[in-house]
Subunit: 149 residues, 2 copies
């Protein structure tokens, strides 16, 4: 088996079809990585989170890296790495439209109980007003895939 | 569904049973995340890599973060986040024993064709002398899991 670079079109196909990614952020040159649920639209990843470490870190340093992969039954895989910039979408006039867009995209097949969407808590989380929404503007996207050739 | 903190024993069980993790490193306060194949033994993750970006970055900044998760069919999940320090295991007298230990552990169920073990190349990779081995000394380990309660 070999490894090949993926084209931009192949990368976009993997990211468009995916819904879980691995988001890395950094503060004081220390990295942190957590799974996120996302929706891809027009060179942006849209996602949501409870307040917490990753949001604190991305607010202090908006440079992030997101990796999305796809493994097939036959052991084949594709892996896409994106660099991008974090931008929060608060519920205020300037970002209200984009926030609603993010919410719409994420609701297409969202599971709010996935990692990153919840915090340890004694209460059930029955709505998402406590979540904050954000987008990541993708600055670069590269990918590799396994290949028989 | 709720989210609960995991005990150290639960975290170790997930990491021991896992084989793929997401490794984040940082340089100049920029994060980078890639999937790795690993073996866990006595508070260390052992892994291998071709030379490349992640090795270059970890050599310049040994602080890393590794996340390992486990998703069940019923939508339940566990996610463990570890902070640790990168340490290369070159094939020299001082690290030869630990390098052989790493190779032994990884060969138990290694698939050398997984992401991180290969580079895009026109030649098939038929042996692993070109791989370098490393360990990550785990400094902290925390986990969260979904729960019905």
């Amino acid at each position: 088996m070999h490894v090949q670079e993926m084209t931009q079109e192949e990368c976009i196909a993997i990211v468009s079809n995916g819904r879980m990614g691995n988001l890395a952020c950094a503060r004081d040159n220390r990295p942190y990585v957590v799974p996120i649920y996302y929706a891809f639209s027009e060179n942006h990843l849209y996602s949501f989170s409870m307040p917490g470490q990753k949001v604190d870190w991305m607010r202090s340093n908006p440079h992030v890296c997101v990796q999305v992969d796809n493994f097939s039954d036959q052991g084949h895989w594709q892996s896409v790495v994106m660099y991008g910039l974090y931008h929060e979408l608060p519920d205020i006039a300037g970002t209200k439209h984009e926030r609603e867009h993010a919410r719409f995209l994420l609701q297409q097949h969202a599971n709010w109980w996935e990692p990153g969407g919840l915090k340890p808590t004694p209460q059930p989380m029955t709505a998402f007003p406590t979540h904050l929404f954000y987008r990541i503007a993708i600055e670069s996207m590269t990918g590799r895939r396994s290949s028989e050739r």
